[in-house]
Each structure stands twice: as C-alpha cells, then as structure tokens.
C-alpha cells in the first residue's frame, strides 16, 4: 500500500476497532440510556470505518473493499493506535479511553475537513459532527465520575492512569504521516497536541482531577505491533468471515 492508502487505512482501523470495543458494552452498560449512548458512539465509529476503509481499498486499487480490509486481515496488518484496542475495563476505563481519543479525533477530523483530497475532506466533514458529540459526552462523564463519589473518583483516576500511556501515539508523525501532510491530504498531528492538551486539562480541572503522571509512551500500533488484546477482539469480530470465507446475506 502507498502512503495515502495506508493513511486512510489507519483512520479506518482506529474507528473500526473502537467501534467494535464499544459494541462489547451492548446489553451490559450501567443503565439502559447509557447502553444506547455507547451503542450510538460505536455505530458512528463503524460508519466512519466503512468510509475510510472503502477509501483505502479504492486508493490501493487491488480490488479490496472495506469489508475485505476489516474481516480478512490478521493482527499485524492492523494499523490502529494502541489506545482504541485497550480493553473496556469498567465504565470509567471505557470513558477514559473515549475521552482521550474523541478529543483527538475531533481535532483530527476538523483538520482533515480542509484536506486537498475531496474524499478525505468529505468523510471528515461529516464525521467531525459525530465526534464532537462524543468528545462532549466523554468529558461530561469524566467530570461526573471524577467529581463524583469516592469510588467513581478512584475508578476514573485508575482508568485515566491506564489509558494515558497510549496518548502520545495519537500525535506521532512517521513517514506515512509526513507524506500525507506533504501531499496536502493529511493533517499535522503533532500540531494538534497543544489544543488537545488544553481540552484535556480543562475537563480534568472541572473534574477536580490531576493529570496522570507521565509515563514512558507505548507506541507501535501504526506499524502492526499490537497488544495481545487485539487478537482476541479480531477473533470475535472476524469469526464469521474466517469460518465461512466470503459469506454474504
């Protein structure tokens, strides 16, 4: 795959894996309304994944569409960031992941909406409205849980503490990102970091929480070096196409 196809693939993989993760909450959320809320976010992510993976397949030009890319690749071929594949844990840990990711995604899509490539711009312009709501929703929950009861606060702190080490990867610029940026297609992710920090700090202050202690960042998702969790996720998500290759209905 060339740089632009890989760029679309990464965007699609982020949304796909997060959507699948959130889908695991279906029927298990703390309240019926929260169940629907998480499922809505999951479906928005799956929709974005469909668009970006189809685009990746189109740019690649090897006859693969979004479904093929989603269901017929193995772990090391996935290019999602490590943050989105992290396990749901408890509700606070899920919210911590959503909080860090949605604010990144909102800034990212807002930047991509100005892409020179109309295909990237169109997907991002539609998706930015969706993820703006996700970011608000996640921030609200961070404040509620952080500034809530002793137990909710402890869980929110633990959730953020776990997810924090995967935040740096979101803003990493490698050769693919540099090529996409140089072509006027991609965003300067490193430049989004300042705005992201501000948003995160603002919500954390509202939640009366301190920033988690800095840790050694964990990187590697973009080049296929994933945690053990992703394989388990894929074995569930891809079961049908692995058991019955090419099945349609």
């Amino acid at each position: 795959m060339d740089a632009l196809a890989t760029y679309a693939l990464r965007l699609g993989d982020d949304s796909l894996i997060l959507g699948q993760r959130l889908g695991e909450w279906c029927g298990h959320a703390p309240a019926l309304e929260v169940d629907l809320s998480l499922a809505n976010v999951a479906l928005d992510q799956i929709g974005q994944a469909t668009h970006f993976l189809n685009l990746a397949g189109e740019i690649e030009g090897a006859g693969r569409d979004g479904d093929k890319l989603a269901f017929h690749r193995d772990v090391m071929d996935f290019t999602n960031c490590l943050l989105v594949e992290q396990q749901n844990g408890d509700f606070a840990q899920t919210i911590a992941r959503q909080f860090l990711f949605s604010h990144y995604q909102e800034l990212m899509f807002a930047a991509l909406a100005a892409s020179k490539d109309a295909r990237f711009a169109a997907i991002a312009a539609k998706a930015v409205k969706e993820v703006t709501y996700h970011a608000t929703l996640a921030s609200d929950w961070v404040v509620r849980l952080g500034d809530g009861t002793e137990e909710s606060r402890a869980r929110m702190i633990a959730g953020l503490d776990w997810m924090w080490r995967f935040a740096d990867e979101l803003f990493e610029m490698d050769d693919v990102d540099a090529a996409a940026l140089a072509a006027g297609v991609g965003a300067d992710k490193a430049a989004l970091r300042g705005a992201w920090d501000q948003r995160i700090d603002l919500a954390l202050a509202d939640a009366t929480l301190a920033r988690p202690a800095a840790r050694r960042p964990v990187l590697g998702g973009r080049t296929g070096r994933h945690s053990e969790h992703l394989g388990h996720l894929l074995s569930e998500m891809q079961f049908l196409q692995r058991a019955y290759p090419g099945a349609t209905w």
């Binding site: 019926l32 309304e33 629907l36 809505n40 929703l137 609200d140 509620r144």
Partner: protein, 97 residues
C-alpha cells in the same frame, strides 16, 4: 436496580419534529440531572432524525388529573356538540378554513 432510591430520577422527553411544529411528548429517560437528561434523550429518542429540538423536565414536576375524577372532569363535554364549530354554512369560494 432493586434499590429504587439509588436510581436516577425520571425525566419526561419532548421532541420538536421540525421547525414550526410544537414539542411532542415521546417518552421518558432516567438521568442524574438536566444536562444528562438532554444527552440521554438525544441518544434514546433522536437516533432516526426524529427531531430538531428537545425539552426535558422532571417527571416529579408534572401534576396530573386524578383518574377517579375523570367522570366529573371529562364526561360533561360529551353532549356539548355545539362547542364544535360545525354548524356554520361556509360560503363557496372560501379557502384557508
């Protein structure tokens, strides 16, 4: 779920289908406060483009008529057909009525 006192309070949800229409009652949600109620109402009742505006209000704030009074409240209206404006002859050529 067993301890009702630990449940979030109930909110009634009203959705405006489109500009110019009034908000209509569509159901209810549980939520800890008004802000959460709006989010839950959005996620529960506007997933299929049902609306352009939401109202939520605490269910506890609604005062309803007593079903036991229904006979006295509503049945007297049954034989007051003259309250319906159906006895006027409308001249030909009148529109917008």
């Amino acid at each position: 779920m067993s301890d009702a006192s630990k449940e979030w309070p109930l909110w009634e949800v009203f959705v405006r289908g489109k500009g110019g229409l009034s908000h209509r009652h569509v159901g209810s949600v549980h939520a800890a406060d008004a802000k959460m109620a709006v989010e839950h109402a959005r996620d529960t009742y506007t997933r299929r483009m049902e609306g352009v505006s939401l109202w939520v209000l605490p269910s506890a704030q609604i005062t309803s008529s007593d079903p036991g009074d229904a006979a006295a409240l509503f049945e007297p209206a049954e034989d007051k057909v003259y309250r319906h404006p159906t006895f006027y002859k409308i001249p030909d050529g009148i529109t917008h009525i």
